[in-house]
């Protein structure tokens, strides 16, 4: 029996915006400038990993990665329209682009993950199969199962590309508290079962610096993602 699903049934659990560029060797001189410039715009910004070609910063809003050929900002607390998130990305990317003297992006990608929780994995798999994304029925495939537990699509042309992945998955988060806290429960565990939609919307053709602005592109791209994903879910 089909399970009606819409993207509004899912919760956005993560957003990542990444830009790639030709190797920018100014990173060896200017990573500190980037950190210094964005420090005032984010809460409790700290360097968590620093090596010459790759540095990571973390703050309450998310995690930044700055590499010789790409940089990205990942947030697990992004707002639903990604407008606030886009402003955060803009501050970071504008600083990187200015300091590393980047003129052209070879790829810009927005990746968002949505999840709908179910009571158990079987329910999540049933929901996935009821979408009938792949026109495959019985018999059992490869001696494993008749239904896939993951379905991945890619659309790509000379300008843009998108991957859309559906997966029924279960997971367990286990947090071990440090002994100095002397907590009654030294471990916290949380299990989840859900259907995950993982969408990566990206450019294929090069993008000039003067064509792109994170605060304009990200919310617009999310609207495109939602529109087309909803059309697939409700077809």
């Amino acid at each position: 029996m089909p399970i009606p699903l819409a993207l509004t049934d899912f919760k956005m659990t993560q957003a990542t915006c990444e830009v790639r560029y030709e190797d920018a060797y100014l990173i060896y001189d200017r990573t500190g400038h980037v950190f210094h410039e964005i420090r005032g715009s984010f809460t409790d910004l700290k360097v968590i990993n620093a090596s010459p070609p790759q540095t990571s910063f973390r703050c309450d809003e998310g995690t930044f990665a700055l590499e010789v050929g790409q940089c990205r900002f990942t947030s697990q607390k992004a707002d639903t329209k990604l407008e606030v998130y886009a402003g955060q990305c803009k501050r970071f990317f504008d600083s990187v682009v200015g300091n590393l003297d980047i003129k052209v992006f070879t790829r810009i990608g927005l990746r968002v993950l949505f999840r709908k929780d179910f009571d158990d994995l079987q329910h999540a798999e049933t929901a996935l199969n009821s979408l009938q994304l792949a026109n495959l029925g019985p018999p059992e495939r490869f001696g494993i199962a008749s239904n896939p537990e993951e379905v991945l699509f890619r659309w790509q042309n000379q300008q843009l590309g998108t991957t859309l992945r559906f997966k029924a998955e279960s997971g367990k988060i286990e947090i071990v508290l440090p002994p100095e806290l002397e907590a009654d429960k030294p471990e916290i565990q949380k299990s989840f079962n859900g259907l995950v939609i993982d969408i990566d919307y990206y450019t294929v053709a090069p993008v000039e610096r003067s064509q792109w602005d994170a605060s304009a592109w990200i919310p617009q791209s999310l609207r495109t993602i939602k529109k087309h994903t909803d059309a697939i879910l409700s077809r």
């Binding site: 003129k103 052209v104 997971g171 367990k172 003067s210 064509q211 304009a216 617009q220 529109k227």
Partner: protein, 196 residues
């Protein structure tokens, strides 16, 4: 069943993060190369046959978008079309028809100026076109004027986040075609250096 051990207080080691790392952001099939990074002018990427992305692909118009940029791209498309028609008429010596299209273009400038939050470069180009028309004092634009304005607007539509310095190059093009792009009162405020 995936299991992830998280050491307190490392928040980033959440399960979701690990899922992303598993699949990576370097998805197979993504074309990183062979594009050269050297783009200076125009749409062609120097050193390869790759073209920069079409602006309407990068920012597709979607329903419900309140974005200044989407609005500006639509208005700029209209403005470019009007200037094309004005140029065609001017080329055929149909001065009245050409001026009619120019006046319709002029009417769009206020709305275009309303989208100036896009950036300083965008704002200075739209502002310069406004004063260029004001300073004509009713005289119709010549074919050369129209061609320059049309070319500048096409460039702006393809690169709306142009920097202030790059925008000043476009303003320089307008001035080179004998358009007066400064506000009328500016010379009065600054004064004539020869008077001093």
């Amino acid at each position: 069943m995936t299991e992830t051990l998280i050491e307190f207080p490392k928040r980033e080691a959440a399960t979701r993060q690990n899922v992303v790392q598993d699949t990576t952001f370097r998805l197979p099939g993504t074309q990183v190369g062979p594009h050269s990074a050297a783009v200076k002018t125009g749409q062609a990427v120097q050193g390869s046959q790759a073209l920069t992305i079409e602006i309407d692909k990068l920012y597709p118009a979607t329903e419900g978008s309140a974005s200044d940029l989407i609005r500006a791209l639509g208005l700029l498309a209209d403005a470019i079309e009007l200037l094309e028609k004005a140029r065609a008429a001017a080329r055929n010596k149909e001065i009245v028809t050409s001026d009619r299209y120019t006046q319709r273009f002029k009417a769009l400038l206020a709305d275009l100026f309303g989208c100036r939050r896009i950036g300083d470069g965008y704002g200075v180009i739209i502002n310069s076109l406004h004063f260029a028309l004001v300073n004509q004092h009713g005289e119709p634009l010549s074919f050369e004027h129209l061609t320059t304005a049309w070319r500048v607007l096409k460039g702006l539509r393809n690169r709306p986040f142009v920097s202030f310095d790059e925008a000043m190059e476009s303003v320089g093009e307008l001035e080179a075609s004998n358009l007066k792009v400064d506000p009328v009162v500016l010379p009065e405020l600054v004064g004539d250096p020869e008077d001093e």
